[in-house]
Symmetry: C2
């Protein structure tokens, strides 16, 4: 899971730099993003449209931690 | 996508009965739930633990529409 590790490191850095709130769990955030991405890939392979999946992505990001 | 259709119909009913807010999009909510579920299945196949995926599911449901 190399890409997930890179994501986690980047989110850790973002917490350190104040771009993500101090209480953010970088590992969970990375896992969440990968999970949604995997799910979108499955849905796309199953024939979901770009517009449908854009709305899903928007919904998934609605509770992204903000400073 | 039979199961997604059942979900959409159930969410539509929930909107009608006031169990989901009036502005809820039943189709989007069904698609979102299927996408997260697909992603969790991919992560599980890749070796993610139950605890990890429980946290992802909790995070995905944090912005579930409530009345």
């Amino acid at each position: 899971m190399i890409f997930a590790c890179h994501l986690q490191e980047r989110f850790q850095r973002a917490v350190g730099e104040g771009d993500l709130p101090a209480g953010t769990d970088p590992g969970l955030l990375a896992r969440y993003l990968m999970t949604v991405g995997n799910g979108i890939a499955v849905q796309a392979a199953g024939g979901a449209t770009r517009d449908d999946l854009q709305m899903v992505a928007d919904m998934a990001l609605r509770q992204w931690p903000s400073t």
